[in-house]
Every structure is written in structure tokens, then in C-alpha cells.
């Protein structure tokens, strides 16, 4: 007796983000750092920021220090950062 079983897995929603853009280089551009201050990666992140500033000599640096290591940063704040910098790095840790 053949049994027809319904698949419980849903389709994946397409991302609402705009299409990705490519950059020709990072030198002399403005950078944003979004860091959640997770204790496991504070040392690593400090070195990452130092490395980016040394290697790519950004014309401007903006930083967002997340108040909550797990909750998403308010979208409006991220949107403001995105409007003001050429690229941004987001720091997690787990």
C-alpha cells in the first residue's frame, strides 16, 4: 500500500537585501566596525581593527559597540552606518 507523505520542510524565504556590490579595493575607503564585544574574541577583534587600519589606511572609521552580544543591532542604526561608510565588518564570536 503506497503512502503519500507530506514534506514538513518549508521553502526558504528569499533575502530582502539588495544585490551584492563589488569593490575594486579597500585602500583609502571609509570603514565601519560592528562588534558585539563577545568575551571570547575581544583580543582577536582588537587585532583585526588594528590590521585593517594599518593595511588599508581608511579615510574614516566608525564603530558600533553592540549592547547585547546576541540581539541584532537596531536596523536604523545599522542603516545609518551603511549610509556613512564604504564597507563594514561585523564581529560575532559564540
Amino acid at each position: 500500500m503506497v503512502i503519500a507523505v507530506y514534506n514538513p520542510v518549508g521553502e526558504v524565504a528569499q533575502s530582502e537585501s539588495v544585490r551584492a556590490t563589488t569593490m575594486t579595493g579597500l585602500n583609502g575607503r571609509s570603514v565601519g566596525f560592528v562588534f558585539n564585544h563577545h568575551p571570547a574574541v575581544t583580543g582577536l577583534w582588537a587585532e583585526l581593527e588594528k590590521g585593517v587600519e594599518l593595511d588599508f589606511r581608511p579615510v574614516g572609521v566608525q564603530r558600533i559597540a553592540k549592547a547585547n552580544i546576541s540581539m541584532p543591532q537596531p536596523a536604523a542604526q545599522l542603516a545609518k552606518l551603511a549610509a556613512e561608510v564604504d564597507y563594514a565588518l561585523g564581529g560575532v564570536g559564540a
Binding site: M1, V2, I3, A4, V5, Y6, V9, V12, P39, A65
Partner: protein, 362 residues
Amino acid sequence: MSQTAAALPHIVEAEDLEAAVELCYTEGWTDGLPVIPATERPVRRIIDYLGMKPEQVIGVIPPRRGIATVEKIAINCVMAGCLPEYVPIVLAAVQAMLEPEFNLEGVQTTTNPCAPLVMVSGPAVRKLGFNTKDCALGHGSRANAAIGRAVRLILWNIGGGFPGSPCRTTHGHPGYYSYCIAEDPETNPWEPLHVTRGFKPEDTVVTVTAVDGPHSVATGALVNTPGQVLTNIADSIARLGSNNQYGGQLVVVLGPMAAKNLADGGYDKAGVVDELVKRSTRTVAEILRNKNSDHMPAEEMAELRSKKGDELFHYIRSAENVVLLTTGSWGAVGGYAAVCPGWGHFGGFTQTKCVQFPRNGA
């Protein structure tokens, strides 16, 4: 465990019942316990009962961003063993978890063992046969078990929240299989949970908070004063290893003996919570000795470091952070309560939804 179902069609044929059960395992559609393979008739029965369109989208479940349609929810409910009358409660729980403040993506993926605890209060508790007596936080009732399991299967199958990737919870707990309880309307000596949360007495309401498994507390309610009962509960809240040292919310479940002890002692619900806020403390020195305290928000850490070592540190930042309900059996001298710590200030925050039953529903 992984799923290949993205490549599978909406309906898959199995040669018999045994093959259908195995199909659910091989495709990664189950959490390890067997499920009821969802066939057309029970899925259709649920959708007809709801009176909703099968393609209606309830939400997008993280972290996989799976689209939870009414039909997909109905399929997972069949797999869990839900009767149609249970499904409005499942829908309310899903909608509650999808509120941004709940941070479901974080709850699904964190290393912390927080799982959504579905708490039901209102007339449907008795109408649908929820267990609020012996083993009220465990097994023994189809309603508790199937609704809790349906929620977990939805998070698993639609949301992609299975262990390894991306769910990184270190240990989890058995509530990851099913975590649904109900408030006892008869033994609760105060206003019902849903009335406390702002709903009408005649509403059936779902409250969801992401928490640990229950930590049992022997309150000694048969022999202790109300003050000692509260101290015993507070001691279980103020643990060095509890994520509530980082703030956030928690659930306190009183057995009826403990609840009666407190009510007879003149405490109302707000009074119980106020006392737990006052009594759930450790010294600042103890907290700072634990380097893991650095998970607190930066401004809280700065303020903490400015205090003297013998000052008291409060685990519960405000009364709004405690969900208090009464359920369970009378028991013996122990007068058990249960403390379910939350995830700290990171998410899983309490959300409440009124259950929308169809006409002639529960």
C-alpha cells in the same frame, strides 16, 4: 543530522507505513523520536478546522528562514500527534516566538540551553485536557506533549534548528523535544497568568519564554513559613552559573502547596514577585570573582565594579522579568516549585498571544 528535503517534492511516496516512518528519519524530519508520517487526510482535517488558506504565510522561521505556511504548520502538527483543536495554540506560540524581541534566531542557535517554554492558560486548559496535576512539567498528556512537540518540529523542519549546524546549544535539555505546560485554574490562588499579562479571563492565552529545563526547588511549604519558602526559591534563582546573573527573564512554577502557603501568608502574586526580586541576591564580590560575569552589558559591569564587595547584587532586575504560575500536584512535605532560568539579557523574552479558535472551536 541534516535534511535533504529541499530537493524533495511536497509529497513523497513510501511503500508502506514502516517505510513512511523510516522516510521521516532518513530525510531528517524528526528530532530522533518517531513521528506520525503526515498524510493528506489529517493535514486536510486541520486546515478545514482552522478555516484558513493553506498557503497563508504565518511567518519566516529562523535561522533557515523557512516559510511557515498554514499547510506546513499543519503537516508538522500531524507529525507531532496534534488534534485539530490544538493547532490554534501552536499558531499562537509560533506568532509569539516570531516577535522581534524574542530573538528566535538567537534562541535557535545559542550555546545556552534555552528552549521556548509554551505556557497555556485559560478555558482551553480544561477543554483540551492539558495535564496540570502529577508530572505537569513532564509526560502524561496528549495536549501538553503534542503541542510542545509540534512547536519543536516547526522550529526543526521549517526553521532549521537542529543540532550541529546551526543549533550550537552545548547540552540542550529534554524540553528540546517538547516543552509545553499549562496553568492549573483550580489550584492557582491568584489571578490567572493571562489576566496578569493583560488579557480577559475568558481568553485562552499562550505565553512563551525561552528558558532552561526546570530546576526543582523543595520549598518545604508544608512546614516552612512563607518567608522561608521564598528564600528557598530565591536561592535557586541566584546561582553563580545561572544566565540570570546577566539579567533577562525567568519562569517560576509553584506547586499548589507552595502557592497556598504563600497566599495563606498574605502574599498576592505581585508580593511574591517583589520578594523574589529582593531575595535573589549574591554579594558583588562573589559576582566579580566569577570572570564569566563579563557577559553583562558594559554599563552594568561598570556600575558593578564601582560598588563595594559586600553590597548586594540582584539577579532579577525588575518584577516584569518574572513569569509566575501555579501547576502540578500537591505532593508531600517537599512542596515543590521549579525555577526555569532564562537566557539573560540576550533574548527569549516573554511574549504573549491570545489564541484565536475558529468558530465552534475550543
